[in-house]
Amino acid sequence: MSESPIQVSDPRGGADRAATERAEREAAEAGRPRGRGRALLGSGLGRNLGLVVALVLLCIVGAVSAGDRFTSTDNALTILRLAATLGVVSIGMTFVITGGGIDLSVGAILALSSVWATTLATQQMANDTHWLVMVGAALGVGAGCGLINGLLIAYGGVVPFIATLAMLASARGLAEIISNRRTQIVDVPAFRDFFGAEVIGVPVIVLLFVLVAIGGWVLLNRTTFGRRTLAVGGNPEAARLAGINVQRHTVYLYVLLGVCCGIAALILISRTSTGSSTHGTLLELDAIAAVVIGGTLLSGGRGTIAGTVLGVVIFTTLTNVFTLNNRSISEQSLLKGAIIVAAVLLQQRLASRSTST
């Protein structure tokens, strides 16, 4: 047995890297006080310190450069509304990646869900009966696609990358066929009223994001499901021999992510008042990036919802700050790359720093 079965996405840095990793891990371990409340705080701040610092820096840059156009509540809500779609998907993605998988089809599933939930027939039925029909359609389609992914991966033995790449192509193709490549406009007032509403000043879609985040945190950290996810991602063979049904659990993970895509589709439908086969283009890369920057191991076995949420918020805030300052897209993307690397390096340094104390 090699001490650290170094995986695909680990850097090939050999010893130094292995040492850093172990150091990080132990830092996380050591920095965690025993009490429950303090555990939350400790892990939140200790593990995600780099991300928090990056976000704070970003906010300072935003506040200095754009003044109260940046600091207004409205702007904060705008950022959160924008973050909602990516956020909900990324939280589902955190589970799949923690469980040792990956999903490239999230954007396509989102598109298919959005199209299916907004066909004339569905809207007709929604108007005749209840707008929840649309919700059911979106979640059902998401879950169905996730189920196919999960079955192919867990029982068909197709590697996740390929299975979900195939789903990407197929789901988007199907979405185009169903919608005839047209943007489908939503004409179900009750639906739009519900999702467009605000509760004490907070838009429903932001609330949804918050609820999914809290639910995800509880599910990952406080339930047997979460514990199994960590086990399956950390060492699938050991998990299997410990009596966990690894295959079934893998299917659950992809279905969960599918449902998250369905929720994200509903958010996007409400925001744009349309369903379209172009929704969610390239969402997969953003979601995976947010999850990994957040600190979830791409090789599985360790996941953090708080980190993912921070990753998502950093991404959306970045775009917001750039737009407020009227920077060109090219500069944005040039800088985005540099900022991602800087954030990850910072995160590493801070994590290893906190060991020595």
Binding site: E29, T223, R227, L230, A239, L241, I244
Partner: protein, 495 residues
């Protein structure tokens, strides 16, 4: 080497260790799990950089910043954790890093011929030079590691627990090769937990305890084993194997009944019964298929024929969850890859098979879980304490205790143990034997596989001998001795 210090974050693995090795001698390094033996030899191999200390070679002080620099001096190392590349062939693994090549192009024919020579020299000409190493048995992989070490111009050979995966015959073969080398003046550092091996091969002994040298250069002749154990553990351990109960437990209820179990290509027609309170041992050569029998009983492999019953109820084939529900637990052969979630906390590793017990509607009550795990680790004397610690940081013996704790918590009816003491030091070893016996006494049916015949005979109430996938002999442990078992294993004359 003198005054070697090596620290890992939070652990002082070596706190000033001295070691001197002379040409032509076999220098044994002993110590409990976690004493720092592997760390020391990794420093010697250039894989770790010491924080303090001096390494001298041929009397001159030297630095070993990389594994290459050590190899250049003639230091070859066989690591405890076999470090081979599974998808490369035997020949490619042996010459990895010092490939036979011309202008960057590898010379395949020459490499293969040289590999055949090496393997023949080791007495294993039957291993194909072009086979992928990942498809070889652990014992054959060990041979490849040996060949790898010999492929260089070796002056110091370091062997870190090479015998752990070998059976008696293989160990004899290994010793023959080692003697051949020492006769040529090669120095050998030999690490093992099997003290009788050290008696056979060693010249001098260095004892490590908690990262420091407690004795160095002890002559093997004239150091009694009990003295060694005392040096290693700081106490004297008298009874290695716990006594058997007076009434043979075969009279109890049969708990595990296996009938006609077969796995295509590996074993056929295995019948066995284990009663409540009984310990049954499976003896055999490495590669005889004993691990497969356990794994098939456990449902981790799908049997091609036969039935497994627990308490009279037949289990669904090929389903681990069904076996676990019926009360079977398995402590697998490869602890790290098959049993443990290395990066996760000790308590999570213990509760992974019974976490629903600590959950209400799927929500875990973390405190109860941790408390129960603490109780168990305390009663098993797992060290260091602290159930929040990642299992990776524990020594082999303590990791094994964590695996056993998992099934203790689950309160199994049947416990399957595959090589329960592989890589485990003397002290922990006797604790594990004691624990297994206590479990049996509480009515658990235990099935043990071990490559150490002595262990099977000492621990078990009843012994089954397996050869090439067939159970060739069965008898009470008291009625068979080591040489008889070896005879059976080698020649398979059915009694």
């Amino acid at each position: 080497m003198s005054g070697i210090v090596k620290e890992f974050p939070g652990v002082r693995a070596l706190g000033g260790v001295d070691l001197d090795v002379r040409p032509g001698e076999v220098h044994c390094l002993v110590g409990q799990n976690g004493a720092g033996k592997s760390t020391l030899i990794k420093v010697l191999a250039g894989a770790y950089q010491p924080d303090e200390g001096v390494i001298s070679w041929d009397g001159a002080e030297t630095q070993l910043p990389t594994p290459q620099s050590a190899m250049r001096l003639g230091i070859s190392t066989i690591y405890q954790e076999l470090d081979l590349v599974p998808d490369l062939s035997v020949a490619e693994n042996i010459y990895l890093g010092h490939e036979l090549s011309r202008g960057g192009f590898s010379q395949r024919a020459r490499t293969i011929a040289a590999t055949r020579d090496l393997l023949a020299r080791l007495g294993h000409g039957e291993i194909s030079a072009t086979r992928a190493v990942g498809s070889l048995s652990p014992a054959a992989q060990q041979v490849v590691s040996m060949a790898r070490a010999l492929s260089q111009n070796t002056r110091l050979l370091v062997l870190d627990e090479p015998s752990a995966v070998l059976d008696q015959g293989e160990v004899d073969n290994l010793f023959r090769v080692v003697r051949g080398l020492t006769a040529e003046g090669v120095a050998v550092v030999y690490i093992s937990h099997r003290l009788e091996e050290i008696r056979r091969i060693g010249d001098r002994i260095t004892v490590l305890k908690d990262g420091s040298t407690v004795a160095t250069g002890l002559p093997v002749e004239g150091t009694p084993t009990s003295e060694l154990i005392r040096l290693m553990t700081g106490r004297s351990i008298e009874y290695v194997f716990p006594p058997r109960p007076e009434t043979p437990p075969t009279r109890g209820e049969p708990v595990l009944e296996v009938e006609g179990l077969a796995l295509a290509g590996t074993f056929t027609g295995v019948d066995l019964t284990v009663h409540a309170g009984e310990i049954v041992g499976l003896a055999g050569l490495v590669g005889a298929g004993r691990s497969e029998i356990l794994e098939t009983v456990y449902g981790a492999r799908r049997a091609t024929a036969g039935t497994v019953r627990v308490d009279g109820r037949t289990l669904r084939r090929g389903s681990v969850p069904a076996a676990v529900r019926a009360g079977i637990g398995l402590a697998p052969e490869e602890r790290k890859s098959q049993a443990l979630l290395l990066d996760q906390a000790v308590y999570r590793n213990i509760t992974v098979s019974s976490m629903t017990r600590f959950a209400r509607a799927g929500f875990l009550r973390g405190d109860a879980e941790r408390r129960r795990a603490e109780e168990l680790t305390r009663s098993l004397d797992v060290r260091p304490t602290g159930v929040e610690r990642a299992v990776r940081t524990l020594s082999g013996g303590n990791q094994q205790k964590v695996v056993l704790a998992r099934w203790l918590l689950r309160e199994c009816r049947v416990l399957l143990l595959d090589e329960p003491t592989r890589g485990v030091d003397v002290g922990a070893r006797s604790e594990i034997y004691q624990l297994v016996r206590t479990l049996a006494d509480s009515g658990v049916a235990v099935l043990v596989v071990s490559s150490e015949v002595e262990e099977v005979l000492g621990l078990a109430d009843r012994v089954l001998v397996v050869r090439e996938g067939v159970v060739v002999h069965e008898s009470e442990a008291g009625q068979i001795d080591e040489s008889r078992v070896l005879d059976l294993v080698m020649e398979g004359r059915v009694a």
